[in-house]
Subunit: 316 residues, 2 copies
């Protein structure tokens, strides 16, 4: 049975697994991604993990890496958190080193494929996957095919312009991006701005958070659970902003499902109501039947997704 | 050689032509679309035009009609300007009447295909076509394939939310849609609001327009040519708003080209500068290489596009 090495090249963690065509994982391993300024050190790490764990030959290597990533040329344009990762011809470097077929794909597109084949997108031909964590990225499946655009950069939903009058600056440097309003970073900013005044027990706890640490999205989830009204408001606002972006995506792409993944989506319960209320208000009648749901908790969605894309090319 | 009848079922004009697989038009004809509340009267019109003009059998019928249109089921969801066109199973009705293969497609997607194969999109694998007239619609080609979404409703770009704080109401009933800010209707509103005060010769002419008629987008183009500053400002503003929508589309879909069609795009010279200036400001570095250009003047883009889609299905 065909099997491959699947790699999730993250900005902090390098995850490697052996996956067969039934999406079964034989072994997996991870190490902190080497941030030495020399991409070949990450290739060394991949080699070592394979040497230690693999007990037989494989049919190819599939890599998911942060975008923008040119999946046609197999070139990683940049990884903001890793030094020296600018226009790295990752596919060719891996091919040369391992003499195997190599496929390189944007990690959000890989996760979209993983959710489509093994998660919340099962049985669905047209979907959009959104990963909502520090930033916002995504992947598009339409008519049972991955939509990549010219170079594989499609799905940079985080940099859709959500609010042209906004004064919120995005990590990309522009004002008013979807990501600036509806990501984990947006929640972090929100948390930092939240007052620690007030006399309730919740407010006292929040004051302690402010004193002891830099308040962030994670605190908002805990505080919401304790009934902290400003935190609950922050989540409701996130739901509204998310809906505003999702509405544009749905009208542009007519997906059957929109699947919300990434760390922020694990707090779905806190923004579910405002998200769906806003969607009901803003979607045109013909588009109201779209299903907007959280991703399945699939730790390996990206690994399985990118492995399945490689298996297709090997078998075809 | 395969040939078909191509139909452009417009809200005001019904255009019919015979097209062969080389995209040559043997004959064409048009009549005002029958607006009797009975869709079968439009089918009667199509029959009559075929009876009068066709001198031999054809291999199928391809229809472009306004959306939302379910191209999988061949059902026209609604045509706002024609009475009785709600959930009309147009494909099945035509099949029954003519006993021929029938393909039904959204008119903006048909025009996108026409521009892709015979116009400004030639030789390009990934593009977005925008039709900017009374409203804004469009079509997506990615990786050499039409992106339709679940039912064929993809490309409703006009109802992307451009400005959540806007007080401009769109024809769809919502506030702040792309269409409310950057279409011919937006220009019409703009023209109506424009002052007829001022002492310059241009202002005197504008005062006459206001006195004699309802000012509209068409007057703005004429007035711009005469150097009327308020009209030039209206066009510059349109370019800025168009750019804001195009930026979201480009980051979401990574097209190689964005092609601007529809009546408003014929005034491209008046908004070209502000459009490109704003695009240069708002696009991420990796996306700046996208080409944003006017459509080729192809009166028959929709007819040729939908005919070519039908030819594909007949031959495959």
């Amino acid at each position: 049975m065909p099997r491959c090495i699947a790699v999730d090249l993250g900005g902090t963690l390098l995850r490697v697994a052996e996956v067969n065509e039934r999406a079964e994982i034989a072994w997996r391993a991870s190490v902190p991604t080497a941030n030495t300024g020399h991409p070949q050190h990450v290739l060394d790490q991949i080699s070592e993990l394979i040497d230690v764990h693999a007990s037989h030959a494989v049919d190819g290597i599939a890599v998911a890496a942060p975008g923008p990533l040119d999946s046609r040329q197999g070139v990683v344009a940049r990884i903001p958190t890793l030094k020296g990762w600018n226009d790295v011809p990752l596919r060719d470097a891996l091919r040369t080193r391992f003499s195997l077929p190599v496929l390189v794909e944007n990690d959000a597109i890989a996760a979209a494929v993983g959710q489509w084949r093994y998660g919340a997108g099962s049985g669905c031909d047209s979907l959009v996957y959104l990963t909502i964590s520090t930033g916002i990225g995504g992947g598009i499946i339409s008519d049972g095919r991955v939509v990549r655009g010219r170079r594989g950069f499609a799905g940079h939903f985080g940099h859709m312009l959500l609010d042209p009058r906004s004064s919120l600056r995005c990590a990309c440097g522009h004002l008013g991006c979807f990501e600036a309003h509806a990501s984990g970073s947006a929640l972090d900013s929100q948390a930092r701005l939240m007052s620690s005044q007030g006399s309730s027990k919740c407010q006292a706890l929040w004051a302690q958070v402010v004193r002891d640490t830099q308040p962030a999205a994670s605190h908002l989830a805990l505080a919401a659970r304790l009934g902290h009204e400003p935190s609950l408001r922050a989540w409701r606002k996130l739901g509204v902003r998310l809906a505003q972006g999702v509405v544009s995506i749905v009208h542009a792409l007519d997906p059957e499902r929109v699947i919300l993944g990434g760390g922020v989506s694990q707090s779905y319960e806190w923004f579910e109501a405002s998200l769906h209320e806003q969607l009901a208000q803003l979607l045109m009648p013909e588009f109201k039947s779209v299903t907007v749901i959280p991703a399945h908790e699939l730790q390996d969605a990206g690994l399985l997704g990118v492995a399945s894309l490689l298996m297709e090319t090997i078998q075809s």
